[in-house]
């Protein structure tokens, strides 16, 4: 039993969903995603038990590419994030009606497949292939099932696609260059490379372009808000919950260890840029009029902090970043789902049209409130653990980084509470707001339970991740 099984299940699931017909598509997809989750949990157990679950088969001889999947703690944590969010995301779709839902859910599963592959791949080209593959389903999901004006949507989605593809192509060149030097794409061979500082700088920034667009780090973020707004909420969840973690994960897995000299050289600049993203995202979020866009900018701010954590090159920073990635994944999915729940009832994301929901839906209000609080990293939620660790690591680098990064706890509270106030509170809305259904409740409760449980007891995740981070740091400091 090895990790390729997860990929296989997800791929088969996509196929089965496609073949199952529109009526059962969502259920089949849910089933397969749950199987994948189960399988991943078993594999994590194997991993913790010391069983070898890696795969390494030769694939292409010329150029020398292997089908190599390596599961260390970091990868498994990200895989778990993917496979546990996927069923939830699919479940959120139960309240929507999608035309041609078999295509839709097949694409969702396919995307999960590609993202899982990205997290597991230990061969540069394989990784790149998965990385690109993940882009195609989300492109179609956003394009075909998105909302809002078709022309604007098209513009936004195409921009997103071209932009991210463009960034990744530079990464591809970097891989080509690395391959020429190493004669292999295998991660371990790339780690062993001894490149000069100049070479590393080039490679570092080629990678950076790809990741900065994907994560996104300002000023490469301009695709984000529009796409989040225009994509169907499931797509937005996939994008914000999992896909942007691909970029952050890749920073840790590929960019830093392959070009450590450059990483060290440019560390202050990059942290500064990331933190500028935190502040910028927060400030832009303040006056957003669209709920989804506001959440998009909040996401920009949060990932900025995560990226800053990654670029500290310290064990604390990396481990905090990973925790925060997972926490952010859960919380942002929840928040977007809350937006979707509102949209289902009121048909709008415009904040000024909302308000006065709390008197009508106390259950929803409570759950939304908890998610909002988690997103502003209230102690006791997993987000706090992540944010605290990241900020702590930043303070070790330079206290000013921590202070400026820390403004997120003020500004974040400001825009989130303001949003909450305008969306939920106030005089009872004239339109009827039915409280959450069972399906919706299940999703919320699982998300919240996760956030609270790991907020109080983050040890399992941290213990899973930390050994691999130590390994990566060893490589960085080789």
């Amino acid at each position: 039993m090895n990790v390729s099984l997860i990929l296989l299940i997800l791929l088969l699931g996509a196929l089965a969903t496609f073949l199952s017909g529109d009526k059962f598509a969502s259920k089949v997809a849910l089933f397969f995603s749950l199987v994948a989750l189960g399988c991943s949990s078993v594999l994590v157990n194997h991993f913790l038990g010391g069983v070898d679950i890696n795969v390494n088969n030769p694939w292409i001889l010329q150029p020398h590419v292997s089908f190599a999947l390596k599961a260390d703690g970091l990868s498994l944590a990200m895989v778990l994030l993917t496979v546990s969010l996927t069923p939830l995301i699919i479940l959120t779709g139960f309240g929507n009606h999608f035309e041609k839902s078999k295509n839709f859910y097949a694409l969702v599963l396919f995307m999960a497949f590609a993202m899982t592959g990205t997290f597991l791949a230990a061969d540069g080209l394989l990784y790149y292939i998965f990385w690109e593959l993940a882009l195609i389903p989300i492109y179609f999901i956003a394009l075909i099932w998105g909302n809002g004006d078709a022309d604007e949507r098209k513009k936004a989605v195409v921009k997103f696609f071209i932009y991210t593809l463009g960034g990744s192509l530079f990464m591809l060149i970097a891989f080509a260059y690395l391959y020429i030097n190493a004669g292999s794409f295998l991660l371990e061979d790339l780690y062993k490379l001894n490149l000069t500082a100049t070479e590393q700088t080039w490679i570092f920034f080629a990678f950076f372009l790809a990741y900065a667009i994907k994560i996104p780090i300002i000023p490469f973020h301009t695709w984000q808000a529009k796409v989040y707004q225009k994509a169907p909420t499931i797509g937005t969840m996939l994008l914000s919950g999992i896909m942007l973690k691909m970029g952050l994960y890749s920073v840790i897995r590929w960019q830093l260890p392959i070009a450590p000299l450059a990483a060290k050289m440019y560390m202050p600049t990059l942290i500064g840029l990331s933190i500028a993203g935190v502040i910028y995202g927060s400030i832009v979020a303040l006056r957003q009029k669209d709920l989804k866009k506001l959440l998009a900018y909040s996401s920009l701010a949060h990932v900025g902090l995560i990226a800053a954590g990654c670029y500290t090159l310290t064990a604390d920073g990396l481990s905090g970043a990973v925790s925060q990635m997972i926490a952010h994944g859960f919380v942002i999915v929840g928040l977007f789902f809350a937006a979707e729940v509102i949209f289902r009832r009121f048909g709008t994301y415009k904040i000024e049209d909302l308000g006065g929901i709390r008197p009508q839906a106390s259950k929803f209000t409570s759950m939304f409130m908890i998610l909002v609080l988690a997103s502003v990293a209230l102690p006791g939620t997993f987000n706090f653990v992540g944010e605290f660790t990241v900020l702590y690591s930043l303070s070790q680098v330079n206290i000013w980084f921590a202070i400026f990064g820390g403004t997120t706890i003020i500004l974040g509270a400001y825009y989130m509470l303001k949003m909450f106030q305008n969306v939920m509170l106030g005089e009872t809305n004239t339109k009827v707001f039915a409280d959450v259904t069972i399906n919706e409740t299940i999703v919320f409760v699982i998300l919240i339970a996760f956030l609270l449980f790991y907020g109080l007891y983050p040890k399992p995740i941290v213990d899973l991740v930390n050994p691999s981070i130590t390994e990566i740091l060893k490589t960085i400091n080789r």
Binding site: L143, K154, L169, I173
Partner: protein
């Protein structure tokens, strides 16, 4: 060699079939015949037979066999589609098919020549066949114009090629490629030789439609009947490239810095001009013509590392030609009874005919170089090789162009998936599905196992 003879024989059969009124059987028999030839060509690999030398006219090495297989495969697709395309011209179908088969003969000659005269005959056979085909829609002014333009410019270019051959002959006194290769390996070469090679190269740059010799391509592609455009865009372009590569590899001219600069410039120009011009095109065939120009720019990169890029070029041509064939199968099917090939005809195809839309999408993705389609590995190998040869500038230009190219490929995809159709769906014959799906499947397979192709050459 047997390949060439068999193909010619098959062409003659087509003509005879008309006489004996075997029109119904024509297409199936030709397809079967071509498949048989394909089988025998592939079989030559297993026999390990390297050469069958007819007075050193033909040299059937792996290079020739690999490309010949591709050409035959493409012709099978083209002929298969002919049946439906020429349904209303039953009396002429044998002519059309015969010309295609002869065209294939010319193509095979162009990759398996061992003598410049064979090369010249090949290129002329191919070209004359294409002139005819381009103008084959007699009553259509656009087709006339396309034929005329292609003919005038093509024969003009032939003049340059001929002059080039002449100068090479004048330098060494031989047409034999092997001898020329040996002579040209010597350090001091007469300037006439270099000029000759340059002129041949120019002629071939015209054939592959590289900037600044590309102007004919969009007009001719647009004006010709779609099936002919498919031939030009897949078969003719690939053939010209294979021949150019083979020639340049033999001529040992490459080490001069100036020549490299020329190739770099032409390559970057072709990519850029092709892509930028393609952005604003409304006609799909015209758009693909410009896309073909940019692909020519990409393929020119192989010339920069000519000593060992054969397999990469071969892989690229397979990827490009198969994707192009799939795309054209859909385009022909969709625009069959339309006046033009505007993108608007593709509106809503994703809804009205998901399979065709999927095939076209896949084809475009492959051309754009998205993994797992073959186009990705094609580009990647190209980039790797070119970086290795030290031409980072070209690669960066290539990357930027890949980004631009997504813009227009996706214009078509967007039209298929987001626009509403105004047109009623029509019955689309099975053959288009077959051609499209098979081409894309082969594209996918070689995308996931690139070694299938690259091994053929080694």
């Amino acid at each position: 060699m047997i390949t060439l003879i068999a193909i010619t024989a098959l062409g003659v059969f087509c003509l005879i079939a008309e006489i004996f009124n075997l029109r119904k059987a024509l297409v199936p028999v030709t397809v079967l015949g071509l498949l048989g030839i394909l089988g025998s060509t592939l079989n030559l690999y297993s026999l390990g037979e390297l050469s069958s030398d007819y007075n050193t006219m033909i040299f059937a090495d792996n290079y020739a066999k690999t490309y010949s297989s591709l050409f035959i495969l493409l012709t099978v697709f083209l002929v298969a589609m002919s049946h439906d395309v020429y349904k209303e011209h039953q009396t002429k179908i044998s002519d059309y098919v015969a010309i295609k088969v002869f065209l294939l003969a010319g193509a095979v000659a162009m990759v398996s020549f061992a003598n410049l005269s064979m090369y010249f005959l090949g290129i002329e056979t191919l070209s004359i066949a294409l002139y005819t085909l381009a103008g084959s829609s007699r009553l259509d002014i656009k087709s006339n114009e396309a034929g005329m333009k292609y003919f005038l410019m093509g024969s003009f270019a032939s003049g340059f090629i001929l002059f080039g051959i002449c100068l090479i002959y004048g330098t060494f006194g031989t047409f034999d490629l092997k001898e020329i290769s040996e002579f040209s390996g010597a350090l001091d070469k007469a300037i006439w030789f270099s000029i000759g090679v340059s002129l041949i190269t120019i002629g071939m740059l015209f054939k592959i439609a590289a900037v600044p010799f590309h102007f004919w391509a969009p007009d001719v592609y647009e004006g010709s009947p779609s099936l002919v455009t498919a031939t030009m865009s897949t078969l003719a372009k690939v053939v010209a490239f294979a021949a150019l590569y083979k020639l340049l590899a033999a001529m040992n001219l490459f080490p001069t810095i100036q020549f490299q600069n020329i190739i770099v410039t032409v390559s970057i120009l072709s990519m850029t001009v092709g892509n930028i011009m393609a952005l604003r095109q409304e006609n799909v065939k015209r758009m693909l013509a410009f896309s073909g120009i940019s692909h020519a720019g990409f393929m020119l990169m192989t010339v920069l590392s000519i000593a060992n890029a054969a397999s990469n070029l071969c892989y690229y041509t397979y990827a490009y030609a198969l994707a192009g064939m799939a795309a054209f199968a859909v385009i022909i099917a969709v625009t069959k009874n339309k006046d033009n090939e505007n993108i608007s005809h593709f509106n809503g195809l994703g809804r009205s005919n998901p399979l065709l839309a999927a095939v076209l999408t896949a084809a475009l993705l492959s051309m754009a170089g998205i993994p797992i389609f073959a186009g990705f590995f094609a580009k990647f190998n190209l980039f790797t090789q070119t970086i290795q040869a030290g031409y980072l500038v070209v690669v960066i230009a290539g990357v930027i162009n890949s980004i631009i190219s997504v813009g227009y490929y996706f214009k078509l995809i967007l039209a298929m998936y987001t626009k509403e159709t105004q047109e009623t769906t029509q019955n689309i014959p099975f053959v288009y599905y077959a051609v499209g799906v098979i081409s894309i499947l082969i594209n996918l397979v070689i995308g996931m196992h690139p070694n299938v192709i690259t091994d053929l050459l080694n």
